[in-house]
């Protein structure tokens, strides 16, 4: 199985001066474009044996037994598919996020907002045969960060995905519909295609809401496609 060439138009620009950290970390050469080889067309296969019973429930997977994390409970769910529209089953999804006050449980997070003793901030799951996944968590808060004099990240959840090939490896962020901080964020604006930003913005999904319990947000993810066709032409040239 070959991998489709990546569509660089939908991915964030490496060098994006409004996002200060990118200026010294963006390679100045364009990456060398080549057809995929077995190295990119294969990848690790994760079994359900790595999953603990609460791994996909961030409201309960850390802290005291029977305690629940503080904050608005939400369901985040969706479907993982590739560019050909085929569902991607058995994909490991790892997520991490700040708590309901905007604080990470990370040794380098210096924000003064409080930690929640019952919120760790990470979870994981594996997609089902239809590529479907679901997490329960709390809605994270926006947080300030040292980019400009007054920079705030929109509320977001970090997502990491494995498809069936290492060349499909993806890390991204999910935002919440209606957040006024989204268009102000220099990390978001590294993506120049507005539709690509929309794809990262999860709409409220009233049908999946749990009444008297949790709102639901829908986040579908598209991974790079695989095909039997061998590509002769490179999309961007060398």
């Amino acid at each position: 199985m070959r991998l489709f060439p990546r569509n660089s138009a939908i991915h964030p620009k490496a060098h994006h001066p409004p996002y200060k950290s990118s200026t010294l970390r963006a390679p100045s050469h364009r990456p060398l474009q080549l057809p995929s080889t077995p190295t990119e067309e294969t990848g690790p296969v994760f079994g359900h044996d790595i999953l603990g019973p609460l791994d996909a429930d961030l409201t309960r997977n850390f802290g005291a037994t029977d305690a629940v994390a503080l904050g608005p409970q939400i369901i985040v769910h969706g479907r993982v598919q590739d560019e050909t529209g085929r569902p991607v089953p058995n994909a490991l999804i790892e997520i991490w996020q700040a708590n309901a006050a905007g604080r990470y449980r990370h040794r380098n997070d210096e924000y003064t907002a409080p930690l929640d003793p019952n919120f760790g901030g990470c979870g994981r799951t594996i997609t089902d045969p239809g590529g479907v996944y679901s997490f329960r968590t709390i809605k994270p808060s926006p947080y300030p960060w040292p980019n400009g004099p007054n920079s705030w990240r929109p509320a977001h959840i970090h997502f990491s995905l494995f498809g069936s090939a290492f060349g499909q490896r993806l890390i991204t962020q999910m935002y919440f519909e209606g957040d006024p901080l989204i268009p102000l964020c220099p990390i978001v604006s590294a993506i120049s295609d507005e539709r690509a930003v929309d794809q990262l913005t999860a709409p409220l999904d009233l049908d999946a809401t749990q009444p008297m319990d949790a709102l639901a947000y829908r986040f579908d993810i598209v991974l790079r496609g695989r095909t039997q066709i061998q590509f002769e032409n490179r999309r961007d040239g060398l």
Partner: protein, 177 residues
């Protein structure tokens, strides 16, 4: 550093039993054990101490495991020293369709704050010069002087050095592959 990928290294314990990917080959007897050490260096020459590095490779016979996570590893640069270390076995020569072969190599994926999309590169081995000369990826490089940025240099038996430079004269060759 990404707390959800290496929670233990970020100071978060108690969600998972251990960080994933710390062990690349469960049975080291499958090939000669090697260690690859290095750093990730930004455009100012400073070490990046919050990079996560994932690797994927074949076994010593050039075969990719298709049933498990054997051959996949995840580590990060040290929060204090900036050093990363990959403990693995030396991969073999990979045969591909059409009778071509790929020189022994390890696929590398690097992410960190300020890296907006994960960067792919490959580790080849400086002590495999004959196989490297026949490798189809290395031969595609229009500027052959940049090949050295893809070569892990032997330091001692079983020990290699591979630094990743994001910018500058010796910028690492990154791949869109």
């Amino acid at each position: 550093m990404h707390i959800g990928l290496t929670p233990e290294l970020a100071g978060l314990t108690g969600v998972y039993p251990a960080d994933l990917g710390r062990e690349i080959f469960i049975d080291k007897a499958k090939g000669p054990g090697i260690r690859i050490e290095g750093t990730v260096i930004d455009g100012a020459g400073d070490l990046i101490k919050d990079a996560v590095i994932e690797t994927w490779q074949s076994d010593a016979k050039g075969r990719f495991d298709r049933q498990s996570t054997i051959g996949w590893g995840r580590t990060s640069t040290d929060l204090n020293t900036g050093l990363f270390a990959i403990d693995t076995i030396k991969p073999g020569t990979v045969s591909v369709e059409g009778g071509h072969t790929l020189a022994p190599h390890i696929s590398v994926w690097v992410i960190a704050r300020g890296i907006n999309a994960g960067l792919f590169t490959r580790i080849y081995f400086a002590d495999e010069s004959v196989k490297n000369a026949a490798d189809p990826t290395l031969s595609q490089l229009s500027d052959q002087t940049r090949i050295k940025t893809l070569l892990a240099q032997p330091q001692a038996p079983g020990l290699y050095r591979f630094d990743i430079r994001l910018q500058g004269d010796e910028e690492t060759v990154f791949l869109d592959i």
